[in-house]
């Protein structure tokens, strides 16, 4: 069973990487923020697969942290000015 889970994790890594490359390319900032969401779901799923395959339960915490980071990244984005690309902590709308 562990082999199957590792192979799935590797395939998932490939898919997530492909999606990440696509989203980081843009064109809009919202596209790039979706890359962070992709790390949350795709990366989280990879971490869970590895956790179960290897028995290293600490990997579950990795998935948890990825999901949390993705959520807070989206909140941080939406607190910035819509449509602008300023980096210096946008004003609270």
């Amino acid at each position: 069973m562990a082999e199957f889970l590792y192979v799935t994790a590797a395939l998932l890594l490939l898919l997530t990487g492909l999606g990440l490359a696509r989203m980081l390319w843009g064109p809009s900032p919202a596209d790039r923020m979706m890359a962070a969401q992709l790390v949350g779901t795709g990366g989280g799923a990879i971490a869970l697969l590895i956790a179960t395959a290897s028995g290293a339960t600490a990997m579950i915490d990795v998935a948890l942290v990825l999901a949390l980071l993705a959520a807070f990244a989206a909140v941080a984005l939406s607190l910035g000015e819509p449509g602008t690309q300023q980096r210096d902590g946008g004003a609270n709308s």
């Binding site: 998932l12 799923a45 869970l48």
Partner: protein, 97 residues
Amino acid sequence: MSLMADTLTIAAVSAGLFFFLAGTVGLLRFPDTLTRLHALTKADNLGFGLIVLGLLPQSPDVASGLKLVVVWLLVQLAGASASQLIAQFASKGGPSA
């Protein structure tokens, strides 16, 4: 018993992988930002859920199974809220609710 658990795992995890594949294809093919957001939130969240479902029979004890379920709930909740925040940001309009 173990055979049944393994069958369920392989079926659900494979299905989950399929939906991640569909989500990635959607990201590559869909024409605009908001449509791509549909692909990301719907397909990938389902893929994640199916993988968690598939991993449940393999968890060594009830506690780690529960933990997997909590992670899944968090991802669902985060996905549902984050997708709306990103959608609102992408459409550059509308007062925040």
